[in-house]
Amino acid sequence: MPFLEMENVSVGFGPEGTRTEVLHDVNLTVEENEFIAIVGFSGSGKSTLVSLLSGLLNPDKGEVRLKGKKVTKPGPHLGIVFQNYSLLPWLSVYGNIELAVNQVFTDFSRAQRKEHIERYIEMVSLTPARDKKPSELSGGMRQRVSLARTLSMQPEVMLMDEPLSALDALTRANLQDELIRIWEEDKRTVVLITNDVDEAVLLADRIVPLTMGPKATLADDFEVTLPRPRDRTTLNTDQRFKKLRNEIIHFMTSMNKEAKMLRVDQGLAMPDIKPVDFTAA
């Protein structure tokens, strides 16, 4: 039996008549401790997919199942990492994580809690910033806090909704390395939603492309057979990595109907007129 499963899931928004179906007939199976990446363009319904998986949204048709049981409402066993961190600004790093831990591990003693929280702060390498408020942290560090908070709840499935998209490319690369390390250390089932093919290839065991919305659905998946633990620098020269990556990019871009519809009209030519030169004047 698959660990996490979506069966013929469809969901739409808006009143009947003007209703647009965002996701149509989505099927997905995830094995236990598998790292899945779902790749799609923005606006293709990725966030809806996360809401469905986490129980924040119930499908119109079909079922989402975790260990064979239907998912109907959110809970700490379905941890989510949001793109916008969603930290409470008046709590410190420790406080933000503590809030989640207190909620989940009610039977822990005070000392156990402290140890538990500090273990996860250590895991995301934030020990020096333990007592800082989110406003004192950079974006990358805030996302680490968010990650630690979700991990500390020890969810059965970890859902990551474009966790690194708001970060610049360099911070993103660092956090990706960190994610690889953490996952090796603390293996669990992960569904990563991303728009970055490199990220997906680097992190995931399997990559599932999401087609363009409306009526988006999941296309055939790509298996990532690269050996673990993975290292960014060695992968860059790995022929399999390059091939897989190019394949996926090719598949994704060929799918973008919007871009295909665009007509680059080569018939016109720029008229030969000179613009007014304000500097000369």
């Binding site: 490319a169 190019n246 720029m270 613009p275």
Partner: protein
Amino acid sequence: MIENRYVEIFDLVKAYPNPFGEPVNVVEDFNLTIKKGEVIGVIGHSGCGKSTVLTMVAGLNEITSGGIVVAGHEIDGPGPDRAVVFQSPCLLPWMTAYQNVMMGVKQVYPHASKQQRRVVVEYSLSVVGLADAMNKYPRELSGGMQQRVGIARAIALKPKVLLLDEPFGRLDSLTRMELQDVILGILDREHITTMIITHDPDEAIFMSDRICMMTNGPKARVGQIMPIDFERPREREAIMETDKFYAYRQRLLQFLDDCEAEKHGGGPIRWDPEPEATADSAEEPESSVV
């Protein structure tokens, strides 16, 4: 020879007052010369002042000391000869794509006939692939499409220099690749001198003729300049296959890592305790994305 020194930035300094009122040099002794028709990528960590340099070239930001010369004239304030594509498309929401482009065109070609202006607008919109979406309002367009209009608006001005300020920073990486191809296509036809600010090494390598790597701020300056030796027109998949690409990439990342290490004495974590004070807002949550 003006062709070889089309844009000259010399001893550029930008100082912002810190909270105590003392000036802090965000950018210091920045020197760069750009040839006509060249594409320069500027890369650096967020908050290093790369956007500050670009806005100074655009004239939107005052220069504390030093100078910028474009085509033999020292710049004085902003002007349409240095067209900017901002990180957010910032189209006027009450105008269609066509009208948004036309606004600039009217301003820059007051002597042209109506017919000529119309062709300029149509040409610009069609080279970015919006020939069929000219009369749409920004709200009807996706983020990537809006940014295409922003690009069309810039090239319609026939600028001497095209300034791209992290133009794809707010787009997803797939849309970003499409727009990179769009801009490269335009540059191959029009040969506009271009300065592109980015924090994405792949983007910088793919698009630029030379990459200017900036050290970390404050007192950011040009660290290294790396020429990129790929033939134009460039094909993404072909370039990605070459080992040269990965060598360039390695060198870039190495430089950026060294910058970090230098700053923090080689600590294990990426530790940037100061929130970004400059105009660089790459880490802001995407608030204005449609």
